[in-house]
């Protein structure tokens, strides 16, 4: 290397490249590298917590059908028994009311509603008509 190159090198060394920003401090991460056992302990603890929660949930779910469903079924059947006539036949409700409050009126209403409810035998083509003859 000649003298001229040396001078250029020296001149170039008068220029300092800009410094980068400081490296981020991450003591926690470095700590984890030095002590990987602690990381595994933490992971094990989390896994154990999840296992306990899952077991508890499974046990709770297996208990529920023994004590609760009969009541649920019973209450459902009661509801349907009560709701069915009321919803489908309003005349039956009225008859029940008359039967409780006014027996004379009940008789009247019953005789009015029964012919419409029972099958008719006075039609010439009906099976009941033929049987009656």
């Amino acid at each position: 290397m000649n003298e001229r190159d040396k001078q250029v090198e020296d001149f170039l060394r008068e220029f300092t490249p800009a410094q980068p920003r400081a490296l981020p401090e991450q003591p926690a991460m470095l700590h984890e590298i030095r002590e990987p056992a602690r990381v595994w302990q933490r992971r094990l603890a989390v896994a154990a917590g999840i296992a306990i929660a899952a077991t508890g949930a499974a046990w709770f779910a297996s208990r529920r059908p023994v004590s609760w469903p009969s009541k649920v079924v019973q209450s459902q059947s009661e509801t349907t028994q009560i709701d069915k006539p009321a919803g489908k036949n309003p005349a039956a409700l009225m008859l029940t009311k008359f039967a409780r409050e006014d027996p004379a009126r009940f008789e009247e209403a019953l005789s009015e509603t029964t012919p419409a409810g029972l099958p008719r035998f006075d039609r010439p083509n009906s099976a009941l008509h033929a049987l009656a003859q």
């Binding site: 250029v8 170039l12 220029f15 981020p24």
Partner: protein, 178 residues
Amino acid sequence: MTQRKLGADDVRQLYEQHGAALLLYARCFLADRGLAEDAVHQVFLKLLHGETAAPETPLAYLYRAVRNTALNARRASARDVSLQEREHDRWFAHRGGNREAELALQQALAELPAEQREVVIMRIWSGMTLDEAAAATGVPLNTAASRYRYALERLRQHMQPYQKEQVNLRNERARQTS
């Protein structure tokens, strides 16, 4: 090549000594200073976290890793840096505070072919020998030496006015003191 893990103190010391030159190197690939810094940080943080086992010649490894990381970042980033941003973004600080010379050197370095530029940065601002630079760039010593000579000649031509100015200033000061 034998490999060992660098201690955190070793890594931080390398960063103190060569961070600036590596940033300069990264900026030859990435126009955005922030991205270049991120590339350098990424390499050093990998070493700090023990994700990478550094070879016996950590400096050569650092240059290779910074180049790869910077090239990946350049592919991923579509951001273009404006001319104004580039002018405000100083690559160098001149000891005598010659801002014009700083920009001239920045331009001269940017205009060098990549293979010449890397040898110059390694040699001048990281203090590597030509042997080490050749090993880091994976070329024979003669190739590295000739690349260095060509680069130095180009830089000399580009920086000659400022260099003369500097010499004149020194002579002037010497005359005044005597």
